[in-house]
């Protein structure tokens, strides 16, 4: 893992047409291969930051710099966002289909991506036949299939039950360790952010801006042992405190 920044957000601001100031002066450097979480209460503009990085939204101020050029991006939404009329494999193949690649050339990559998230057996199933956790796995497989340099995840596990969420947390970490891509992970869960990330960016609400950054210098692989360790509890306390201060800074609860 190198220390050179892959993305650099400089004084990013976003004001919506209705006059809502979503972001104000957001500065953030993300190193290549780093796992960063954006943590904050709902409505603090975390998702907007992701959409701006993905190019799905344009900032009204500031710049997004890609010192080494913008590479491929994978995006995982809060909902699985699968096409119900296509099979799991069909959904995962979508990025190739839109790029005009034929079925045969992408087959291997699609299979590999499904294998990676443990859905190989369900390639021909339709999304409605899958559980919530499996749908999210399919969504992650689709985001990873193009082997993106950057993976953006917008509260992907927020709607899942705790058992499924823990399992997906572990699987996400092992995929990340295998591929070593940059991950920016949006969450409103202190525990999830501490468990997953190398660095947590705590944001203030209304308008969203960076309140503080906290490093989690714990080694990987992290597992259930880490989840029950005193170090983990200590970091959670520290991050929760920072989040409370960030929220006190914001005008509204």
């Amino acid at each position: 893992m190198s220390d050179r920044p892959a993305i650099s957000l400089h004084k990013i601001g976003k004001t919506f047409n209705r006059g809502v100031r979503a972001l104000d002066d957001v500065n953030l450097d993300v190193r290549e291969g780093e796992f960063v979480s954006l943590l904050g209460p709902s409505g603090c503009g975390k998702s907007t930051v992701l959409r701006i990085i993905a190019g799905l939204s344009t900032p009204t101020g500031g710049t997004v710099d890609w010192p080494h050029g913008a590479g491929k991006i994978g995006f995982v939404f809060q909902e699985p966002t699968l096409m119900p009329w296509a099979t799991v494999a069909g959904n995962v193949r979508l990025p190739f289909k839109l790029a005009g690649a034929d079925k045969a050339s992408s087959r291997h990559l699609v299979e590999q991506s499904l294998e990676r998230v443990g859905l190989a057996e369900f390639a021909d199933a339709f999304p409605r036949e899958l559980s919530g956790g499996m749908k999210m796995r399919a969504s992650i497989a689709r985001a990873l299939v193009t082997e993106p340099q950057l993976l953006l995840m917008d509260e992907p596990f927020a709607a899942l039950d705790e058992i499924t969420r823990f399992k997906l947390n572990n699987d996400l970490l092992s995929v990340w360790q295998e591929l070593r891509r940059t991950v920016i992970f949006v969450t409103h869960s202190v525990f999830e952010s501490v468990y997953l990330s190398q660095r947590i960016v705590v944001m203030t609400p209304r308008p969203g801006s960076v309140f503080t950054e906290i490093e989690i210098p714990e080694p990987y692989p992290r597992n259930e042992g880490f989840r029950t360790s005193p170090e983990y509890a200590g970091f959670c306390r520290q991050v929760a405190q920072a989040l409370a201060e960030a929220m006190a800074r914001g005008a509204l609860p």
């Binding site: 995006f75 096409m83 119900p84 009329w85 979508l94 790029a99 409605r128």
Partner: protein, 260 residues
Amino acid sequence: MSERTLRVLLPILVLALVVLCWHLIVRIFAIPQFVLPGPAVVAATLIADFELLWRSLLVTLTLTFEGFLLAAIGGVALAIAFNQWRTVEYSFYPYAVILQVTPIVAIAPLLLIYLPQPLAVLACAWIVAFFPVLASTTLGLNSVDHNLLALFELYKASGWQVLWNLKLPAALPQMLTGLRIAGGLSLIGAVVAEIAAGSAGAGSGLAYRIVESGYRLNIPRMFAALFVLSLAGVAIFFVLSAISYLALRRWHESAIDRER
């Protein structure tokens, strides 16, 4: 008895009861045939006039089907145009509504003045069937998951790719609902035009047979023709429902059999 058998058996039982009552009323009150023929007479007429009624049915059904097909193509095409270009929607939507809310019975006589009869029938079948296809397809195209739209944007999909790979499949359930309504309506449109043409019409459609039989006080044939007509309507509904089911059964909630 299972629910399935009940669902088939009960309507048949009701039908049998109604036919029996009809038969008894005609018998007991000795109602003459030119006022109300009994079910046996209607059935006999149906068999005796079968060839004539069948030919008339084919005439009406052909025009109904052509009108429906044009409405389906036109409705979907215009819905796509509405969805792609807002100016087209703003320009034409009010007129689509006007076409829909003006009763077809009032338009038919006018069309018959300017168009040869078969064409007027076709136009009526088209006009009434067109709007449901347009309205429901437009709704379907406009209610695509915005996250999926964002995803397509992220992968730099072209406008046509978004339309073909996302919007049209997403709109399919609503589109099929519109088509199912349109099927029944195009039959109504065709019948209205044939009736409006009346004795002036040279056509030999089923509705024309009803009018003609009325003039001749051939009431049993009126009933027989009416029976064939509603049977055709039911058939259209079932065919379109089956197509809808086959197209959606693998993925859409509406077509899934859930065990309870």
